[in-house]
Point group: C2
Chain length 176, copies 2
């Protein structure tokens, strides 16, 4: 399965696409960052994030999208922009009928490093190793997006797709 | 000018359209609520809010959209859904090139009741009086959306449009 990981943000929204199966090596498909100018209005920034994500979805055709779960508790100053950027990612994926999974930062860290409290450098190092890359993806948001995608692949896409199929059947929409 | 006020939320997203000018009586155009089932996935709920708002924008053709500004501090349990629903409203309006204004709850209360700490009932009573309605709009989310729209009209759409035009010129997009 091919997964697009999204580390949401307005200034830098990390995007990383990984292909793999639970128990098999994961392969890098593409990685990057969607940036929006800090002095633009919130509306223009959200439109730019939407446009960027639509391009990534069109070009990388993932089977599922994994987005970092945003909590209200921490980083009060920036959490609203992060939550709103996450909303755009969830919306873009759902509009196409793609299953969306939300993973917490500690789930992602635990999946790639074995510790839910690992720091950014450790996550970057493990992402580089797991995907057999020559260098650590930069900035950290890009590495985090790949970690999200790897986490989603390893946590078992099958279960996620089953849950999604059940949800689709329940809501009466045609499955995809 | 015609303003669509949006009181964001996933369970109930209030929408109210008002027509008027600063210093003149305001007139009700339409009011309602977009609801999404609490047991649906977040993605399906955001898609439903988007679809609902697009319909309101198509049918009421506002000149501007006023959205309640969401703060991270209060209502931690529901604030994420509110912020994400607000993001969809800002996105839908901005995608059409409509100016978006964010007003805080106390700005809205002060605009319609004269007090920034007025309760919901007082806001509803004043909205009913200002728009010369026979009954208070229900639920409270619908009345709040109208209060937002009234607040925006009275705070001077001209200033808002000027700011928006400046922002548009700065960002190099064609004005509308």
């Amino acid at each position: 399965m091919r997964v697009l990981g999204v580390d949401p943000g307005l200034t830098r929204c990390g995007v990383g696409v990984v292909e793999g199966r639970p128990g098999s090596p994961a392969r890098l498909v593409a990685v990057g960052v969607i940036r929006t100018p800090a002095d633009d209005e919130i509306g223009a920034r959200l439109v730019a994030v939407e446009r960027g994500l639509e391009k990534w979805l069109d070009e990388t055709t993932p089977d599922a999208v994994a987005v970092e779960r945003v909590f209200a508790q921490h980083n009060v100053r920036t959490v609203m922009g992060t939550a709103q950027s996450a909303a755009v990612a969830i919306l873009c994926a759902s509009r196409r009928g793609l299953p969306v999974a939300l993973h917490t930062p500690s789930e992602v860290k635990a999946a790639v490093t074995g510790s839910g409290t690992a720091d950014k450098k450790q996550v970057g190092t493990m992402v580089t190793r797991i995907l057999r890359l020559d260098a650590m993806p930069k900035p950290a948001d890009a590495a985090d997006a790949l970690a999200l995608a790897i986490c989603h692949v390893w946590r078992g896409g099958v279960q996620n797709r089953l849950a999604s199929a059940v949800a689709t059947a329940r809501s009466g929409r045609s499955p995809r």
